[in-house]
């Protein structure tokens, strides 16, 4: 009896196993027969899951137009949000299965290990002649003098502000740090949040700290040098900048509970005209045309330089600017040439830069001024003016310039500083400790 039962169980399991393997075979065969045809399949790994707006829309548009122009090419896009993207990226790296073309962050904390390990294919400089990339924009996509990726956008920090609120409360748009502190006090009195900021995301605080260091010193290199040389705690300028930041917190410069506010919360606070200013990067250029925001907001939104500090050496035109996301082609790809063609097609100045700018989707990494039509929004014009008048730019921000671990820890320390969990002196001491551990 039980022997019979055992036989039945075993045979059921065998059948199940057979079914599974047959399915596996069929799938294997399908992919095999597809590759014998002449279609070229390119796997594209992107960090832009939203394909209907902003950069994701632009990316998809260019991919679609490429497939239309090359009917034998089929591009399979896999788009994941940043965190799942990093997870999946690790899986691909660990199993040596890199997609043919993939998004990279042009920061040493992300891209350097990828280039070092030889996962990315070299892009010859004469392949991108006339593409309008400035050498400085390619710096973080290069290793040992060779280029391995192309940046998508120019990212730089500005202070967005609401003209309507400044007029209503008769406040002058701040050009110095003291004016900023005074403006903050006035807005506080009237129940308006002075500056909306996403303190929960931490990185913004680290960037703001660097902004203050630059405005204090006028020296873009200072913070990087101090960390490389591990002489942070004794540096008076770094200390002053940390105190400035705490000062801004003390006068109520940010919205209530800003340490717990995420990106959307800060953005919406500003967009609903409940905050007078918003410290954020150029990628928010689309705010002035966003159909989800009110007409009154869109009429009032404007942007300016981050204020200078009286007594500091920095100019208002010393800005924080870098090139974040970009693309690279896999070195081990079977369709490397086709993937490279696609990359060069997308990043051609008449595509990513021109279409992206004219549709108000991005601030491109290439020179975009020649694509101005005169129909730009106020923000587009202001941002162009701010960037083109820059007298010095930072490059990759300080927390991204070292190891991934440094980034995480340094950002957390910045959050602790603004939450007043540590004093400015302690903050610098901790950063120095961190530098000793993480920076060789």
């Amino acid at each position: 009896m039980s022997k019979k039962a055992l036989k039945v169980v075993v045979s059921v399991m065998l059948i199940a196993a057979l079914i599974v393997s047959v399915f596996g075979l069929v799938q294997g065969n399908l992919t095999a027969s597809a590759s014998t045809q002449k279609t070229v399949k390119i796997k594209f790994l992107s960090n832009l899951p939203d394909r209907t707006s902003n950069q994701g829309k632009l990316e998809q548009m260019l991919i679609d137009s490429y497939m239309k122009a090359n009917p034998n090419v089929k591009i399979e896009v896999e788009a994941l949000q940043d965190e799942p993207y990093k997870q999946k990226f690790k899986v691909y790296v660990a199993t040596n299965q890199m997609p043919d073309i993939f998004m990279v962050w042009g920061q040493p904390s992300f891209f350097l290990p990828v280039m070092k390990a030889g996962y990315a294919a070299e892009i010859k400089l004469d392949q991108i002649k006339g593409y309008g990339f400035k050498t400085s924009s390619l710096k973080d996509f290069m290793y040992n003098g060779k280029l391995y990726g192309l940046p998508r956008n120019t990212d730089f920090m500005v202070l967005y502000y609401n003209k309507g609120l400044f007029n209503k409360y008769k406040v002058k748009v701040p050009t110095t740090f003291n004016e900023l502190l005074n403006a903050a006090k006035v807005f506080r009195k009237n129940g308006i949040a002075p500056i909306a900021i996403n303190g929960k995301d931490k990185w913004i605080l680290a960037i703001l700290y660097q902004e203050l260091v630059v405005k204090e010193s006028g020296d873009q290199k200072l913070i990087y040098d101090a960390i490389s040389k591990k002489s942070v705690s004794k540096n008076q300028i770094l200390l002053k900048a940390a105190k400035d930041l705490v000062n801004l917190v003390n006068v109520g410069g940010f919205q209530d509970a800003f340490v717990a506010a995420d990106y959307g919360a800060a953005n919406n606070l500003f967009a609903q005209e409940k905050a007078a200013m918003y410290y954020m990067g150029s990628w928010e250029v689309g705010m002035a045309a966003n159909p989800n925001f009110s007409e009154s907001f869109k009429k009032n939104v404007d942007a300016t330089y981050f204020p200078i500090i009286s007594g500091g050496k920095g100019k208002k035109t010393d800005i924080l600017a870098w090139h974040g996301g970009g693309y690279a082609v896999s070195a081990s790809s079977k369709v490397k040439n086709e993937a490279m063609k696609l990359l060069l097609y997308m990043m051609h100045p008449t595509r990513w830069a021109k279409i992206g700018w004219q549709q108000g989707l991005v601030v491109p990494g290439q020179n975009w001024e020649k694509f101005m039509t005169g129909k730009e929004t106020v923000l587009q014009k202001k941002l162009t003016q701010i960037f083109s008048s820059a007298t010095s730019v930072s490059g990759t921000v300080w927390q991204d310039a070292f190891t991934p671990n440094f980034k995480t820890e340094a950002e957390t320390l910045c959050q602790m500083l603004v939450a007043k969990a540590i004093t400015p002196e302690k903050f610098l001491a901790k950063i120095e400790e961190l530098a000793k551990l993480e920076v060789k």
Binding site: T52, S53, L80, A265, N268, A271, K274, G286
Partner: protein, 280 residues
């Protein structure tokens, strides 16, 4: 007597208030979700906790449906989840019976081995499974999800089933054998109908776990063809761009099936959990 009943009344009132508050707390997020799924994206972080949508933005649902590729992902989710749940129920029932009622040499050790699965974290298995699936050419298929879903749900399901089957009186099976029942008839005609509460519990827990699962799906799937519903939510999220209202609409749609399953089977679940718990 009179004192006791007035005390009862009081305690009843207190209980009602507490439970009322509790249910408001539980239901509020849902109301909030549905409310803002009908507002404009910019309204989410306003001063009001709830906002009367004026006019209701039904377009959010349309966008969610279209851009979130909900119909396609939904079908995938249904295929993967229904198959997983059926397999888990079938396997756990058979295994539960084999462990509790059948006498064989390694019975206890194998049961312990299966239950060890409860302690394995999903993240530790992502990479090895990815490699195995790749070599079997099973990446990017329904099986790449069904197999790990079943494997991860089985330990808990077997745990519930063994507890439950143990509580069924042996006399029933004995009389069935006397009437000439074979082992499969005992299992499917006697044990199966009696185990309904346990089966429902297994169904619901497996369903809820796998319906919302994202990390395995994100790892084992590469193309759009087999993606499941949680991807819809992620299609609208980005670090720099978030259409909150449409995301809320997506989440409402995604949450509905689990809600319906839970509401429909709620009573059985409670029964199944408690009956499984008091194993003798």
């Amino acid at each position: 007597m009179a004192r006791e009943s007035s005390f009862n009344k009081k305690s009843r009132a207190v209980l009602l208030v507490v439970l009322g508050l509790f249910s408001i707390g539980q239901l509020f997020p849902l109301v909030w979700l549905i409310d803002f799924s009908l507002c404009k994206s910019g309204d989410v972080y306003g001063a009001n906790i709830l906002k009367i949508p004026n006019p209701p933005q039904f377009i959010n649902y349309y966008l969610a449906w279209r851009d979130g590729k909900i119909p396609q992902y939904f079908i995938n989710s249904v295929i993967v989840n229904v198959t997983s749940v059926l397999l888990v129920v079938l396997f756990s029932l058979m295994m539960g019976y084999a462990f509790v009622r059948m006498e064989w040499k390694w019975s206890n050790k194998v049961l312990t081995y299966v239950l060890l699965g409860l302690m394995i974290p999903i993240h530790a298995t992502l990479l090895p499974n990815f490699v195995i699936f790749r070599q079997l050419k099973m990446l990017d298929s329904y099986f790449a999800l069904i197999i790990p879903y079943v494997a991860f749900s089985l330990p808990q399901a077997v745990f519930l089933m063994t507890g439950f089957i143990g509580s069924i009186p042996r006399a029933l099976e004995e009389s069935a054998i006397i009437d000439g029942c074979g082992i499969f008839r005992i299992l499917f005609q006697i044990i199966l109908p009696l185990s309904k509460p346990a089966i429902v519990t297994v169904t619901v827990t497996t369903f809820l776990n796998t319906w919302n699962e994202f990390i395995m799906a994100a790892t084992y799937l590469t193309s759009d063809k087999f993606r499941t519903l949680p991807f819809s939510v992620y299609n609208f999220a980005g670090q720099y761009a978030s259409n909150y209202a449409v995301q809320f609409a997506v989440m409402t749609i995604v949450a509905l099936p689990s809600l319906i399953v839970y509401i429909a089977l709620n009573e059985q679940v409670t029964k199944g959990v408690t009956l499984g718990a008091v194993k003798g």
